[in-house]
Symmetry: C2
Amino acid sequence: MRELIAKYREKGFKLTPQRLAILNFLDGNTSHPTADDIYREIKKNYPAVSFATVYNTLQALRDRGKVAEITIDFQKKHYDPDIRPHHHIICTECNKIADVFQDYSEALRLPYNIKGEFQSTGNHVNFYGICKKCRNLSRYVSKRENKKRRTKLCA
Amino acid sequence: MRELIAKYREKGFKLTPQRLAILNFLDGNTSHPTADDIYREIKKNYPAVSFATVYNTLQALRDRGKVAEITIDFQKKHYDPDIRPHHHIICTECNKIADVFQDYSEALRLPYNIKGEFQSTGNHVNFYGICKKCRNLSRYVSKRENKKRRTKLCA
DNA sequence: TTACAAATTTAGAATTATTCTAATTTAGAT
DNA sequence: ATCTAAATTAGAATAATTCTAAATTTGTAA
């Protein structure tokens, strides 16, 4: 992200204040925000900012390989400015996502029948689990109740 | 799926004609359909069928662990009636999904820092690649052009 | 059988996520 | 300072999914 700001003059990437704000928000951010999370954050300083700007910027970054889309959440996409190859784990109670830095590439070999059909270009492991906070909370609140809750109890 | 039909009397699961049609469509289906795919299929025989019915049924099946949701596609959910643990590969050109029956569980150990934070309940590997058909087509059609295409050239 | 309660169906509205549009503004090059 | 390509905006459009409330149907049990 930082290095992108440094090299923002790269062909066809204009650095607007809104973009700078998005880049700054993403830089070093390990919260795996959704487009909406980003929109709401930028809106604090740029109340007129449009959703289109957020999606535009994310698309520009994505096209340049500067941000990764994560499909671990069944509801919506999350974005990760850390583009080093890694995997993720999501808490199925509160949807908190954490990075899993572990190289499984040696083990993730495709079976032969697939190799004949597909030429693999990458992989990503989704882990599912319960985070510490939710594990504690679930002693007092049923899972069903917890899931319906709009406001997350943890995180 | 079949065994579900046999045991459909299980507490609180009513077998309506629409449901039976959905169950029959899903049974042994390896195409990983979306809710919309299912809706369109059932509509052929039940023109009045509602989207809500499809989602209702899928939710009922999901709650009973009879169907798996797949998050490999960035656009929408796919459903898999094969509930044996397995993984998937998606063609990034035409979105065709194939099953990957390979047990990676031995290798997919979480790093210690994550183990302290999360209690893992499962994992799923998403593989990305290009299928044979698209590999051949891409000789003639640029990737960009191909992506914009509404009608898939392959599949 | 018939009656009934609970579950399911339906059309359609509502929500949510994402993308597109067209007019206006702005960044960065000259 | 000027200019053009790119980015911004509000708002509409699209797409995926969920919800609602009224009508219907299933499976059970008298």
